[in-house]
Amino acid sequence: MRNLLRVDSLKEAVRKDGLFLAGGTEILRLNTGVDENADLIDILPLLDKEIREEGDDVIIGSGVTFSDLLSSDIVPEYVKKAALYMCSAELRNQATIGGNIASWRDDSYLIPSLAAASARLLVLEKDGKLKNLGIEEYANCHSLIISITLNRKESVSSFRESLTSHSHAAITAAFGTNECYALKGSGIFFSFDSLKFVSDLSGSASYKSYLASLFRKESGRV
């Protein structure tokens, strides 16, 4: 039986046992594999929901929704392109940036582009300390994301191949300073050489392998 845990601060939230509830589109969605019995910690009211500029950097609060991203004048186009991979307007109105990154989906909309752009995550750890991490460093960290920092001048090209607009993508790949791949069934990868392909509903391993090579080539990386 799930319980709702209310907290007064994010520091209090990270000390609790449970899942962080922000937009709810992952935690409350059917078949996401999250623990249906885990308590939910309501963090949405406490999250940073602003998008601001600092020099060439754009800092996006983790409570910003996909729709907020799209309506912002200062969010780089490569991030907006990635946000539009989430195809439903209703979902974009609800889903938060932090939630999408934290869920670490193998068909992640945002992670490949953010990683390719060398985005930095400001996270709050269980001990109450803030830490600045790269996307790759965040893997399996489970710390609470406070904000995402991007460089507006980054140049990122991204690719996504899914059967329909709403299907889980077989592959989402992005190329900038870094490269990053979300491979359905396999996970998130930060180099071409580390890619592992498995066959699943989204396509065969050889299909995904072909697309990964194709996209890398199309990006001009090889």
């Binding site: 799930r2 319980n3 709702l4 509830l21 937009g23 709810g24 589109t25 409350l28 969605r29 059917l30 078949n31 939910l40 309501d42 949405l44 729709s67 195809c87 439903s88 307007a89 209703e90 979902l91 109105n93 609800q94 191949e161 059967l163 329909t164 607009s165 709403h166 299907s167 889980h168 509903l201 396509g203 065969s204 050889s206 299909y207 072909y210 697309l211 194709l214 199309e218």
Partner: protein, 958 residues
């Protein structure tokens, strides 16, 4: 917890659990437009609300978060019970059909136009990006927005909603809007779930984890001992009655091969036990306490596996025949296993269950070998179609209760009278003890032709006396709902250099899954709806249907025809390519025209001898010519992006209008005490506008305002028998019954008027708006006065017209669908750039609804062609039982240039010259798109879905 929230402008106090989904709370609080179609998947948008000025899925909003929020639901759109201009435009545009999420759509579009009054097509697409529409397609949503914009700007619509037909008629052939459109778009309580009264029990089903197993024992003692559990039904205590869930005419051309629950489970998800309990939590707990001992068996999943020598037998029980039993039946049953139960054929279907064959048929005309010998080229290809799901937004649902000792069934069904019959069999009670009320149906598409839930719920109520509510989860829809039969269609076709087709051979192998629902008729359709479009002298077909252990199959809009067309038109395209001629020229050289005798039909009669008839009204050639012109056929298009190749394809198609010789419809029309009318139609309007057809028939003949007519339909107590809404029978059969009933009423009204007016009947005629007029004396008598006198103390009684419609005559719709696709040569991705559907529907009685049904059917068939596919794992479990994984197409998948065109042909037999419209529209997309892909990149993909990966493989890229 308690929250305070502002809903639709009013402060409201709500109480629920903190983490309860807001949708459920809103629905329970009376905001019943907020529905659920996806069990919190975030896909269909039926649960969309405006939450703090944003459109959101209420399934994802936990109740506590609504504290202090401002919410708008579709109920907010009504002012003094009047729908707003957006809702009106939706009704006018014809998109309010099965309408389960029409209120949500209205809310979304109203919100869009508030924020952006000049919303463009792109804006509309974006706004509807999270709304799944299965019935009417998306094209007229754009039109509805345009209509609103025009009305607001100019005070009237400028765009033409649809063409009009038959200038001599007032309502028929005119876009009037559905008579139930306002109720549906406003979110009235019209669906089964809305009828459930407090105090009901729930029914839940324990389903098999095995694809094939005997049930050795079931221990229900702990479950039954649980407080709040009323009863547990298993194969050991259910009636020993064999029946068939397919809702077909009695005797059915499907074997009775199941009981309510069986000793043998035959697919993952098959019924094992059913629990009636006070609530869901208790029922769930009870299911977990049931102990089942299985004896797992090897399973077969494909036709090839079922055909193999020594294959496990899905049914190996005793075979019986109600008629036509073979002489060696005792010998045949010698080694039957009683645990397998029985397979009872109503008449021979040429099945052989010891070889997993459920049914078969063979036949043809001419000399097939001679035909192939005369050919300059022959193609012989095999096409495979996949198992696809109807995915109605409203899942299978049923509410049953007792009233005055009778069983009342609130059903979402296409076949209320078959429901009554089959439930009476299962409960072993006479049919008069059962009252089926067909509520509004939130999507059927064939799947609600089968009695998949009413049998169990009805029986549960009958034995317990409890009111019972049952609703499939979305996952159960995939596990235990009927689906399209997967088929292997081999087509051998020979032709001459001049384009003459000399011979066609079809070898159809259908996979019926665990039970034989529609096992003869679906595969027969693959030939009976395809071969008769060809004026070819030599044609032969072999049809065999196999039992396997996949999830159940059954009827799906188009029936067997989409599979047959995928094979036969693709083969024609391949043959034309091989001969180096234009496939369109080949088509035109070989199609039938009015008057051509359809000898091929003789063997294609649904288990009986078929009737040879000539081709009647036929707009096929015009559809081909017009479509070719619209598509600029013959002109090779070149993409500006070198990565993309463009190709064109087409298919000529036909269907039927009901089943002449088998279907039967009845209706009554009553002149009500104030001179208005009530039509009682046996026909089941499943959102398609059949009730509007009945109303138009009445208003047209009785020369009264359409608003003076109400329709009650599909209620087995109030209305007379009708075989149901399937096989494209609604307009032709039920419509004709309403027309005949009205004609009968007209005679009776004239007769009564002649007595009241002292005039000869021959001098009397009806005049708008609702009166009898004497041509001789000029005297007038309003219907109101006429019926008042008839019902007075000295009157001659009520005036009721009764009509029946049966026929040996066919009213066949024809059409041609054209597709233009772009294929990415590097990724295999396909975009359907253009799709033009041209169809001859005779006189389209509701033209705007007809167009939307064409858009909806094409969108569905684009889905099964390119995306949709139920995937089973090695154990037979469907592993993509949700919308996202399954691949249901949304607005982004709709062609950007999408046109539906009605070819004007007047039919001899249909009501006011009408023929059917919607099923045929599922037949063209697969072959047209396959041909277009081949035209673009030179490869034929012969299996559904035609995925990018398959294209890349055919192109040799992977």
């Amino acid at each position: 917890m308690v929250i305070n929230v502002k809903i639709n402008g009013k402060n409201v106090r709500l109480e629920s659990e903190a983490l309860k989904d807001l949708r459920s709370v809103l629905y329970a609080a009376g905001y019943n437009s907020v529905r659920d179609s996806d069990d919190r998947e975030g896909f269909t948008g039926s649960d969309t609300i405006i939450f703090n000025s944003r459109l959101m899925y209420s399934n994802f909003i936990p109740f506590f978060r609504a504290d202090g929020a401002e919410i708008y639901t579709a109920e907010s759109l009504l002012k003094n019970r009047k729908i707003n201009d957006v809702q009106q435009a939706m009704v006018d545009a014809g998109i309010v059909q099965s309408a389960y999420n029409s209120p949500a759509a209205a809310l979304i579009l109203t919100f869009l136009l508030e924020k952006n009054p000049d919303a463009t097509r792109t804006d509309v697409r974006e706004a509807l990006s999270g709304l799944f529409v299965r019935d009417a397609g998306y094209e007229h949503y754009y039109l509805a927005v345009r209509l609103v914009q025009e009305k607001r700007r100019y005070g009237e619509y400028k765009s033409i909603v649809s063409p009009s037909f038959r200038d001599n008629l007032t309502y028929v052939g005119k876009p009037t809007g559905k008579i139930d459109g306002e109720a549906l778009v406003s979110g009235e309580r019209v669906f089964v779930e809305d009828k459930v009264l407090p105090g009901y029990s729930v029914l839940r089903v324990l389903r098999s984890p095995y694809a094939h197993a005997y049930i050795k024992s079931i221990d229900t003692s702990e479950a039954e001992a649980l407080e709040g559990v009323d009863t547990v039904i298993t194969c050991f205590n259910c009636p020993d009655v064999y029946y068939m869930q397919a809702g077909q005419g009695n005797p059915e051309p499907s074997p009775h091969d199941r009981r309510l629950l069986n000793r043998k489970v035959r697919h993952v998800g098959d019924r094992v036990a059913a629990v009636v309990a006070d609530n869901d939590e208790i029922a769930e707990k009870a299911l977990s306490l049931i102990k089942v001992e299985y004896e797992p068996l090897d399973a077969v999943f494909t036709v090839e596996e079922a055909m193999a020598e020594g294959a496990p037998l899905v049914h190996n029980g005793i075979v019986e025949y109600r008629s036509g039993a073979p002489e060696d039946l005792d010998e045949y049953n010698k080694n039957a296993n009683p645990l397998d139960g029985k397979v009872i054929y109503q008449f021979p279907l040429h099945g052989d269950i010891r070889k997993n064959i459920a049914a078969g048929a063979h036949g043809g005309i001419g000399d097939i070998e001679k035909g192939f010998a005369e050919a300059d080229a022959i193609v012989d290809s095999t096409y495979q179609t996949s198992q696809v799901q109807c995915t109605p937004l409203e899942p299978h649902v049923c509410y049953t209760r007792l009233e005055n000792g009778r069983l009342v069934i609130h059903a979402s069904t296409q076949v209320p009278y078959h429901v009554r019959r089959i439930v009476s069999w299962v409960c072993q009670i006479p049919e008069h003890k059962i009252h089926v009320i067909k509520e509004r149906v939130g999507g059927g598409y064939g799947s609600k032709q089968d009695i998949l839930v009413e049998d169990l719920a009805g029986y549960a109520t009958w034995i317990t006396g409890k009111s019972v509510y049952y609703r499939n989860s979305r996952e159960e829809e995939f596990w235990a709902n009927s689906t399209r039969h997967p088929m292997r269609v081999r087509v051998k076709m020979g032709g001459k250099k001049d384009g003459t087709i000399t011979a066609i051979y079809m070898d159809v192998r259908a996979n019926t899954g665990p039970y034989g629902n529609h096992c003869l008729t679906v595969p027969m359709n693959a030939s009976s709806k395809t071969l008769p479009i060809f004026a070819v002298e030599n044609m032969y077909y072999d049809l065999l249907t196999y039992y396997t252990n996949i999830p159940p199959t059954g009827a799906y809009q188009g029936y067997g025809a989409p599979k047959g067309y995928f094979g036969i038109i693709s083969a024609m395209g391949e043959l034309a390519m091989k001969l180096g001629i234009d496939p369109l020229l080949m088509a035109k050289k070989n199609i039938v025209h009015s008057g051509y005798m359809l000898e091929i039909l003789k063997g294609l009669g649904e288990g009986r001898e078929g009737t040879v008839v000539p081709v009647g009204s036929c707009g096929l050639e015009e559809a081909l010519d017009k479509g070719a012109s619209m598509m600029d056929w013959g002109k090779k298009e070149v993409s500006e992006d070198p990565d993309w190749a463009i190709g064109k394809g087409f298919a000529m198609i036909q269907q039927g209008s009901g089943l002449p010789g088998l279907d039967h419809s009845n209706a009554q029309v009553k002149l009500v005490a104030d001179g208005t009318f009530l039509v009682l139609s046996g026909g089941a309007d499943i959102g398609t506008g059949l009730d509007t057809i009945s109303a138009k028939c009445c208003a047209e003949i009785m020369k009264c305002p359409l608003e003076d007519v109400s329709v009650v339909s599909g209620d087995t107590d109030s209305c007379l028998f009708d075989t149901g809404a399937y096989a494209s029978s609604g307009t032709y059969f039920s419509g004709n019954a309403s027309l005949n009933a009205t004609k009968d009423l007209k005679k009776k009204v004239i007769k009564e008027a002649s007595l009241q007016m002292n005039e000869d009947e021959a001098d009397l005629e009806l005049e708008y708006p609702g009166k009898v007029v004497s041509k001789k004396s000029g005297k007038e008598l309003s219907y109101k006065d006429l019926i008042h006198t008839a019902l007075a103390g000295d009157g001659r009684g009520a005036i009721v017209g009764t009509g029946c419609f049966v026929t040996p005559n066919f009213a066949v719709p024809y059409g041609a669908h054209f597709a233009q696709v772009a294929v990415n040569k590097k990724t295999g991705k396909v975009k359907v750039l253009k799709f033009y559907a041209l169809q001859d529907a005779g006189t389209p009685i509701n033209p705007e609804l007809a167009l939307c049904q064409m858009y909806g059917a094409v969108q569905k068939s684009i889905g099964h062609t390119l995306y949709e596919n139920m995937v089973l794992d090695k154990s037979g479990k469907c592993i993509n039982g949700n919308f996202t994984d399954y691949g249901a197409p949304m607005i982004e998948e709709a062609p950007e240039d999408f046109k539906a065109v009605l070819i004007d042909v007047n039919d001899q037999y249909g009501p006011f010259g009408a023929k059917s419209i919607s099923e045929i529209a599922t037949n063209g997309a697969a072959p047209a798109i396959a041909m277009a892909i081949a035209d673009a990149v030179g490869v034929w993909v012969r299996s559904w879905p035609i995925t990018p990966e398959k294209i890349l493989k055919e192109m040799g890229k992977i």
